[in-house]
Symmetry: C2
Subunit: 631 residues, 2 copies
């Protein structure tokens, strides 16, 4: 039996020093537990999401320095597999910068293995993902490009590494992350490796960001792969968070071992650093261990786990120990309060209600009840005086130009935004500074999609932890916090039953049942179709489905809803165009200046959803359909 | 002589309808001027920078519809070359989405040419740039990938298109943008085309964003290419602006014809839509036309042209006709005022001075003088009352928690940010709404680099038109506006001689010569080395240069400056670390929420400079060097 340690570590992005120290420590620990081999994740030395730090030669040299330390560390007798950047200082990338590879290193007895039948003593990532948040192709040279440069077939660059173990020699296929997700690629690395060489083991080192339900998919895929190739597959992923500025990703780990029949025989828990040492009968394809069941990762419990984990890690990463939350009495800020009060000592979460003349005593009372149940410091800072001052200053401003005077007026709509900005930029920002922390952005994904939030107002903050959740997920998560996290009605029932409302004008009077113009049971799903569908839905698609009677099935909302909401096509079209124009118009401008969003879904605003401020567009076919309908 | 129209059009990104209408009109006009052929830029139908709009199947079908209209349009007798997306609905990209190419279409007599010896009746872009702001590889399939998929050499997919003209057949090499910039690629499309086929003409259709000095480089490169291949090169680029959210690019056009000896024989003016019809003796390689001189594009006059053009086009693109500018009496906001008052009617530019107790009468007077010289509406709205109210509200807030009371205090530093946010988020935003416009962000690149600006304060606004200019470029451009644009001292002399200062505290008292902690004649260049160097400079590089005595040469500042500023290495290091920590620390957090920046340089903050909020890092070698020096 080969004893293999799965090094599911927390990687700190951009910190080769810290990561290397942790890895050396884990190598020692694994050795002490009798492990023959330890496997670390992809880019375990530098981290994966580093932006353009890869363009700093000094940083690359630094990574080389730490890689050498790890190689030296294998003198103790353990075999180490790990990921880092590899640099060929004599060659260029396509951008003219020095040649870089996303590399898989295998070190034994103080030396790198695998150089005897390959251009380098390491393996490189073949498939470089360049979609969603992935950017590999920007910095790293692929096997395909190297093959073209060397004038050889790609298959010649896919060779296993021969490892000597106390149990005999082992032929290990060494691949990186996307190399195992090859369905849509012309080159299929794992299959080429297995087709042309005897293989005892396929090792996939990954740095694979969490999205809801991804581990289920991963298990289906890698299980099929192990079965097809007839070898055990070892998948090692990191935990922690990494970001690319606009988007913050959690990494769930979930490192897993599959036997040659595709059954899971071991896995690490999600979102937890761990280092199990697994006995693997490599000769028998891992068949001597019993199969184990893997928990589902697509439910609200996983959402809760990811959001908590990501928020904790983000606060730690920027050194924030105290937060201020504007508590309106609505569901979003209530959930934010429940979340932060759970992950920080309640005394470090300052809750503040900031009423203007439009806030009802209903919501003010609910906010106070929630604050008292959470045991957080709580205060009320009214904004009406400042709003009145702003109004007066704008109305009294004398615009002098060549002897003429003009005056200006703030409309009721403008005053809504004045209130929102007053709360965030005037009160929350100052309060956060004085409290020694940051303030949170409590926006949800529905609001962010159509810009139903004020720039420098409720759209601001240091992290938008809930902005990848649709409104119905916000409700579900709030309920989960009550039922499963606090096991008590911490968020008062009244907050769940209240109509969602911004309370910025008499049109938003919650006690009269008034509130947001977004009808969440329908628009949540409409917006999701805009944003998250693999083939993004546009008005053309939506109108086509509406006419075909398949709209609800396509977007996944309650059946019959569009019939109930819209008397006819004219009303359906008015609603559709209103939100499409906002989504592709003003909301883009707002998102450009939005805080970082914590990722949960397969399509997060920020770096995962690239967008230009180009305004709204309707296709020729849409306009024709509309004309046919409305004459 | 072949009569060729260079279709240097303004492309509206995301508007196939508008672009196609413009192209059809230009085809008619060109035909009327006797042109045999018209050449439009790359992606002339859909536009180039569209974010993930490429993931909308309805949009792709729409592009196909408009491409067909253009093909039909060639029935009039003109040959049309143009760019658009081409879709192969039966194949997949690597991300699993439908196969898309960045394609070069050649149409004649209502049909597409070139399908007889190629998988498609169009040509596709071979080199897909994936650096700086470019993202081609995210959406489009390359010639290399297609060659691997088809199992044939890349060269077989590089074939000219045979065009029948009244002057006989013509073999045209059809390439797209990056295909002509192949120095760092293993595949060299233009050379392969010419090596394997007789070629009469090389046509490069581009959508090439402007950066300072790029046209100089383009001319050197394409001139060398024409000479090497021995054929005339026609380069057609668009004008207009396109953006990817965080970064706004101008397109300078500068479409150019080179004869086979590499001399420029015709070019279109920069930043101007135009459609010259050129007589080209294709048989003689274009040698019958005299060479012409091309103006340099690296000076402050070009900066001025680009900034004006980009700002005008951006305002038009978002439908903004009125702006509000906070006028402090400092150089940045003065330049902003001079810029906007020049491109909009002065009555549509509202200038506002917002003094607190810390603003000097010197700057207040200078602001008033500038406003009066510009003839813009001007007003003064003091913020002290609101700042005092905020202070009082924070200080008086009672933080209740489990019976205890806490109170909070705003420090003088916090009050600096309170002032900045009060100006922007409370006054400017409300004023802009009431005035019916937006407000400008006047930040420069030095400030943005180290976050010397307040979030939701002076870092906010709808466009940061000057944020790709270092402080010394701001001064130079301000002087250029006085001397060459207004030809008058519109920006008072006193604004140039004042110490740069935020005037947010007694420490910033300009009349006592106090001001910003940034020493621009040195730090402008230090920061530029962090951001703009091809190999990004880090503390390790900078300290190494400092010790070697080559610092000033390497970063390009005045020689001897570091000696004068820093008594010794300890002071040099303290300064270096201070700014590096800000650049890679808090400034990243601020830039994530910064407004769109108008691009001028080869490295713009936003989408061109990818960064993660990972905190500061010092390499092992830097720490060792520092230890050696400081003990």
């Amino acid at each position: 039996m080969l004893k293999i340690a799965l090094g599911q570590m927390e990687i700190i992005p951009g910190r080769p020093d810290v990561n290397t120290a942790a890895m050396l420590q884990m190598m020692n620990a694994a050795r002490q537990q009798g492990a023959d081999m330890i496997i670390f994740p992809e880019m375990s030395v530098p981290g994966y999401l580093l932006g353009d730090t890869w363009e700093q030669s000094a940083f690359l040299r630094d990574c080389e320095y730490y890689v050498q330390q790890l190689i030296n560390g294998t003198s103790s007798g353990i075999i180490a597999m790990f990921g880092s950047v590899a640099v060929d200082w004599n060659k260029r990338n396509n951008d003219g910068r020095v040649r870089k590879y996303n590399a898989f290193f295998t070190a034994q007895s103080g030396k790198l293995l695998g150089g005897e039948n390959y251009p380098y003593p390491f393996r490189i990532k073949t498939l470089l993902p360049n979609y969603r948040e992935f950017d590999d192709d920007r910095h790293f040279y692929s096997t395909q490009k190297l093959a073209v440069e060397l004038g050889i077939p790609v298959a010649e660059l896919l060779r296993p590494i021969q490892v000597r173990t106390v149990h005999g020699p082992l032929s290990v296929g060494c691949i990186l992350c996307e190399d195992g997700w090859y369905d849509d690629y012309a080159v299929k690395p794992a299959e080429l490796l297995a087709a042309n060489h005897p293989l005892d083991l396929l090792v996939n080192i990954s740095s694979s960001p969490f999205t809801l339900g991804k581990n289920n998919k991963r298990n289906r895929l890698f299980s099929r792969q192990a079965r097809k190739l007839g070898v055990p597959v070892l998948y090692v992923n990191n935990v922690g968070i990494q970001n690319n500025g606009k988007t913050v990703y959690t990494f769930d780990g979930c490192s897993t071992v599959y036997n040659r029949a595709g059954a899971v025989i071991a896995y690490c828990p999600a979102f937890t650093a761990s280092m199990p040492v697994i006995d693997l009968d490599t000769a028998g394809g891992g068949m001597s261990r019993p199969a184990v069941a893997v928990p589902d990762d697509s439910g609200i419990d996983t959402v809760c786990q990811a959001v908590r984990y990501g928020t904790v890690a983000f606060l730690r990463s920027i050194g924030l120990e105290r937060v201020v939350i504007g508590l309106s009495g609505g569901i979003d800020s209530s959930l934010a309060a429940a979340l932060y009060a759970h992950i920080l000592p309640p005394a470090q979460v300052l809750l503040v209600n900031m009423p203007s003349q439009h806030n009802s005593s209903t919501t003010k009372d609910l906010a106070a009840i929630l604050a008292s149940r959470l045991g957080c410091p709580y205060t009320v800072i009214p904004i009406q005086e400042a709003v009145d001052l702003t109004t007066r200053q704008i109305h009294q401003a004398e615009l002098k130009a060549t002897g003429q005077f003009q005056s200006l007026t703030l409309s009721p709509f403008m005053l809504e935004n004045v209130q929102a900005r007053d709360r965030s930029s005037r009160i929350l920002a100052a309060l956060a500074a004085a409290f020694g922390g940051g303030f949170t952005c409590n926006a949800n994904k529905s609001e962010l999609t159509v810009g139903y939030a004020t720039l420098y107002g409720d759209q601001s903050g240091c992290l938008a932890a809930l902005a990848d959740l649709w409104k119905h997920q916000v409700y579900a998560l709030a309920q989960y916090f009550n039922e499963e996290v606090y096991r008590d009605e911490i968020i008062p029932r009244g907050i769940f039953t209240l109509p969602p409302s911004a309370e910025l004008s008499p049109d938003h009077a919650v006690d009269e049942g008034k509130g947001d113009p977004i009808i969440y049971p329908y628009h949540d799903y409409l917006f999701r179709a805009f944003v998250e569908r693999w083939d993004r839905a546009t008005p053309e698609d939506l109108l086509t489905w509406y006419l075909a009677g398949t709209l609800e099935t396509e977007i996944g909302c309650q059946s019959g809803l569009s019939q109930r909401l819209f008397p006819g096509p004219a009303e359906f079209i008015t609603d559709l165009e209103r939100w499409w124009k906002l989504y592709t118009g003003m909301a883009v401008a707002k998102r450009i200046q939005a805080p970082p969003v914590l990722a949960v879904s397969r399509r997060v605003f920020g770096f995962d959803h690239r967008e230009a401020q180009n305004g709204s567009y309707f296709t020729a076919k849409y306009l024709e359909l509309k004309k046919q309908l409305l004459g």
